[in-house]
């Protein structure tokens, strides 16, 4: 009988808790659709506390997942967090609202290298959240040779000791880089050139992992990898000298941004949120949680010395890096190429 009473009490409790939510007048809300583990809880709480706007968070694990859901769910989301090539694709398809920069005064905090980039030349659709590069992490205890570029990783010496991002376009871009071609020079002709290179690389790779490539590195299952700079930064932060980040020649960067999808029901709140996270002291919190490259120059001033010295987050000399452009249907060709090679 105890259980029945328990259940009853539980139901009652839920009913009581749910009542005010149902009865309360319509509160202002923001439907945020963002990467998992990318927006600190404290930032969201701070925003709600200040504005009274309730934030509903939904997460995704890849740009592609976000696109799929966005295209199906229509105008359910107010704010999304796409990377540069996805912004371009969405903008081309007229799926993004134009931003009203006059309502985002803190946009001035974004550094010049992160503005007016090819995917959004007029800063009409997106505001950078965090940026980073893709580079090489080395376990210095195991790897004694000098590794400068992608070709060194795949010299054949590290067969079965390599982790790479599980990302076909990334792999193609690395192979292009070794040929001295730009990351966006993707033509059928170039893909044909890339094929034998990847064919040599793929048998050497032990792990494909985009979500947490640091795990096999930290666990000693692989000795070097091509990963997001933020992952490398965490490894360096936790293990110090043991890991080293190398930005290869012809490296590229990604820019994760905030954008408002077409028909967003709460575009006002979305603008408010964008401006809120551009505040130096808020942006600093994000940096502390996720040590990518912060494009917010005012926030950088608040960061501790140690973090600014982490070369994975802030590579020496702030090199100017390429970004991915939308390549449309060629994605399918890349996909087929890599799937074929992996399948061999």
């Amino acid at each position: 009988m105890k259980t029945t009473r328990h259940t009853f009490l539980l139901t009652l409790a839920i009913a009581v808790l749910a009542l005010p939510a149902m009865a309360a007048p319509k509160k202002k809300v923001l439907n945020l659709f963002c990467w998992s583990e990318y927006v600190p809880d404290s930032v969201i709480k701070g925003f709600t506390k200040e504005t009274g706007i309730k934030v509903n968070v939904e997460n995704y694990a890849s740009n592609e997942e976000m696109l799929s859901k966005l295209l199906v769910a229509g105008s359910k989301y107010d704010l999304i967090q796409p990377s540069e090539y996805t912004i371009e694709a969405l903008a081309k398809a007229n799926k993004l609202e134009t931003l009203d920069l006059s309502r985002i005064p803190n946009f001035k905090n974004i550094g010049a290298p992160f503005k007016s980039l090819p995917h959004d030349p007029d800063n009409k659709f997106s505001v950078p959240w965090m940026t980073g590069s893709v580079g090489i992490v080395i376990n210095t205890r195991k790897v004694k040779d000098e590794i400068k570029g992608y070709a060194d990783v795949f010299s054949g010496k590290y067969k079965n000791r390599i982790v790479v991002l599980d990302d076909n376009r990334e792999m193609v871009s690395w192979a292009l880089a070794t040929l001295g071609l730009g990351v966006n020079d993707i033509t059928s002709e170039n893909l044909a050139k890339v094929k034998p290179i990847l064919q040599g690389w793929i048998p050497q790779i032990k792990v494909y992992n985009s979500d947490s490539p640091k795990t096999p590195l930290a666990n000693g299952d692989v000795d070097l990898g091509i990963v997001w700079s933020g992952e490398a930064a965490i490894l360096i932060k936790e293990h110090g000298e043991k890991f080293k980040y190398v930005l290869p020649e012809n490296a590229h960067m990604f820019i994760d941004s905030l954008a408002i999808p077409k028909g967003a029901p709460n575009a006002d709140a979305a603008h408010q949120f964008i401006d809120y996270i551009l505040r130096p002291e808020v942006s600093k919190i994000i940096s502390e949680n996720f040590p990518y490259t912060n494009p917010n120059m005012e926030a950088r001033k608040l960061l501790p010395e140690a973090q600014l010295k982490n070369t994975a987050s802030y590579p020496a000399g702030d090199p100017k890096l390429d970004t991915f452009k939308d390549i449309g249907k060629v994605t399918k060709e890349i996909d087929k190429l890599v799937t074929d090679l992996k399948n061999k």
């Binding site: 997942e65 969405l90 992992n209 666990n219 449309g328 249907k329 992996k342 399948n343």
Partner: protein, 305 residues
């Protein structure tokens, strides 16, 4: 031959038609099936004949292109068909992987289920609980636990090195073996429980009768025990094989995602980079059709009674 379907029917097969109350009682089940099985399957079916546009949105047009691709015919540059069995190979590999998992689950699960089913009542509940304990934690956490155990700086390698059985860490994680270990671990309870169900129902005196009539333990097992517990084994095989075929998380996390399995490919079409819903749907439909055929073949020979 008994079939898993027989599990769903009354023991003595009195095939009575449900009355009004009967329909009322199964209405929720039917509603559930329609909402979550029939409608999605129909949507998949429609999608599978469509195409995608640049952004990945669906273009409604009828074409068999996706199915050609699944079964190895693709258009080359000149527009002619070319033979490219990539997906068939992936399919075959997944079948092999799921098949091996299923066989291992039967081999490991049967003796366990037998022991459970024959244990005294007092101990049986404890043992059953032990079998089900893994379900108390999330699947992902259990998989991460395996990563902690199998990695080169992990528990097992540490133990082996500490006991001086090996001097260098032995690569265990991110190997095909690790994937099979993960799959068998995850699906073993789904094999044990149905077999346990039929072992428990098996009257001990029937086994004794076999021994009494001169059957040795192996003969008794093959001639009496196995045929009488076959419904449980078949149910277990279905419960293990089908999800093992579609599983992608374990091959991602424990296998390093090195070789694509059909589950990975389908997932990639829906929320991964490929983002080709129509092709993913065609792959999914092909799997469904294949399973249906296999199921039909497996259950075709109904008992006459």
């Amino acid at each position: 031959m008994q079939t898993p379907l027989a599990l769903l029917q009354p023991a003595h097969g009195a095939a009575r038609r449900p009355g009004f109350i009967g329909w009322l009682l199964i209405a929720p089940l039917i509603a559930w099936l329609v909402a979550f099985v029939v409608i999605p399957a129909l949507i998949l079916l429609v999608y599978s004949f469509c195409q995608r546009d640049e952004l990945g949105e669906l273009v409604f047009s009828f074409s068999l292109e996706n199915y050609w691709r699944v079964f190895g015919y693709v258009h080359d540059e000149s527009g002619a068909f070319a033979w490219d069995p990539t997906y068939l190979q992936i399919f075959g590999r997944s079948l092999g992987c799921a098949g091996l998992t299923t066989i291992l689950c039967v081999l490991i699960g049967y003796p366990v289920a037998w022991t459970l089913g024959r244990a005294p009542d007092s101990r049986r509940n404890l043992l059953l609980t032990l079998v089900m304990i893994p379900f108390w934690t999330s699947f992902l956490i259990r998989t991460y636990a395996w990563i902690i155990i199998l990695s080169e700086n992990g528990l097992l390698n540490g133990l082996l090195q500490y006991s001086r059985l090996i001097s260098e860490p032995f690569p265990m994680l991110y190997t095909p073996g690790a994937v099979i270990v993960g799959l068998v671990y995850s699906y073993l309870p789904f094999m044990i429980l149905p077999i346990y169900g039929s072992v428990e129902k098996l009257d001990n005196s029937i086994v004794e009768a076999a021994l009494d009539l001169g059957a040795g333990p192996l003969q008794a097992f093959l001639n009496v025990i196995l045929p009488l517990t076959r419904p449980g084994v078949l149910a277990g095989i279905l419960l293990v094989f089908i999800p093992a075929m579609g599983m992608f998380a374990i091959s991602d996390l424990m296998g390093g995602k090195r070789v694509p399995l059909i589950g990975n490919v389908i997932q990639d079409q829906f929320s991964g980079q490929a983002r080709d819903w129509p092709f993913g749907s065609a792959l999914g439909m092909s799997v469904v059709v294949l399973f249906s055929i296999a199921f039909w073949l497996g259950t075709r020979r109904q008992p006459e009674s």
